[in-house]
Structure formats: structure tokens, C-alpha cells
Symmetry: C2
Subunit: 94 residues, 2 copies
DNA sequence: ATAATTTGGTTTATAATATAAACTTATTTA
DNA sequence: TAAATAAGTTTATATTATAAACCAAATTAT
């Protein structure tokens, strides 16, 4: 049977963000924006959702004088990602 | 970089339907409904979309006296599924 | 025989989502 | 100091997913 796919992660951009963060300590907004090719508005919204879900933490600081938003995956986010991947495999393998 | 995910397939139910059909010659509406656990309305809509996209063919006939809608994956549908899986792997592996 | 229920769906309405466009605030460059 | 750029946020819109309501025919119960 097909397991339910976590709707927080079953989104192209949010999945890309989490996938990206899964590989690094942390990444800032503009880096994520470049890597994903997302618009700032869309990214801002999706980062909020991941943050509200507790999948990432978001820290707003400064790099020099410029504002800089840094994101990193929480343990819960990593676990959710792992589960999502497993669930997905039920759909795409066999 | 993250490849674009085919929006026709990046949907929980449509992906389940295509995944299911990828393994068999054809399957009828009620069978798909049972296997996916979807509601009839939702399944009807999603089957229409897959059909409009040319990913599946839909034949309405009768099994005995009861109406019976039979679906099967087209070569394009199979190819799209294959591509989707490949694209997805860029997100979920590494 | 006919009323109620079930089967196999479709259509319509609604709630959620994704996305872009417009806007804000501060900074740097011309 | 005016214009342009950076780094986001907020708001508006279009699309989606989903369920609820509906329909017609067949079956079962009375």
C-alpha cells in the first residue's frame, strides 16, 4: 500500500531546501536562493513553513552590515526527510 | 542543481496511480480506488488529469452489467514516470 | 412490484498551496 | 544626494487537491 507523503516535504521547493540543508551545517537565504533558483518571495514563504513545522531553524543576523538569514536543519527535519524518502521509495521502486 | 519535477506526477495520488499502472497491463477504477485508498471523486479528477496529459488511456466499458473504467499507462506516461523518478533522485540522494 | 441500498462513477464547491508581484528598509555606488 | 542594489517580507492570484454532493443503473430486501 502507498504510505502517506508528508505534505510539508512534498513540495518541490521545500524539498530542495531540505535536501540542500541535509548536506551542510547551515546555509543562508541568498545561497539557498541561488542554488534552488527560487524567487525570494517564494523562498521566504517556504522557509517560514519549514520553520513553523520545526524542520529548520532560522536565525536572522548580519553579515557585515547586510542582513543575513541563516537556516539549518533540525534533527526532526532530518528525521522527517529520511521518512519522506523511505515513503517515496514505495511509490517509485518496484 | 535541482531539476524541475513534472507537476503532473508530483502529486501524491497521481503518482500512486501511475506507480500502480507501471506494474500491470491495466487496472480498473475500483481496483485503483481500493489500492490507493482514494475517494472516488478525487480519483476521478486525477485520472482525468493523467488522461488529459496523455499519460494514461481510459476506456469506459462494462463488466457484466456494471460500468467499468479501465486505465493503462501509455508509453509517454511510462517515460514521464521514469524521468520523474530520475529527477527526484537528485533531491533525495546525496 | 417497488422501495431501499449499493455500485461506479462525475460534477461542483471549498480549502490549501505554490508562486509571483509589489513593497519595505537599509546599503552601496554613481 | 540620487539612483541602484541587496535582502527579505507581505499580499494577491492562480492552481491544486480534496471532499461533499450528486446521478444513473443495478442489485437486494420487503
Amino acid at each position: 500500500m502507498f504510505p502517506k507523503l508528508d505534505p510539508i516535504l512534498h513540495s518541490e521547493l521545500r524539498l530542495a531546501v531540505v535536501s540542500l540543508l541535509a548536506g551542510v551545517e547551515s546555509a543562508d537565504f541568498t545561497y539557498i536562493k541561488k542554488q534552488t533558483g527560487a524567487t525570494a518571495g517564494n523562498l521566504s514563504v517556504q522557509i517560514d513553513k519549514l520553520s513553523s513545522a520545526g524542520y529548520i531553524t532560522v536565525e536572522k543576523g548580519f553579515k557585515g552590515k547586510m542582513p543575513c538569514t541563516t537556516c539549518s536543519l533540525t534533527p526532526e527535519g532530518l528525521e522527517a526527510f529520511r521518512k519522506y524518502v523511505d515513503a517515496l521509495k514505495e511509490y517509485i521502486s518496484n
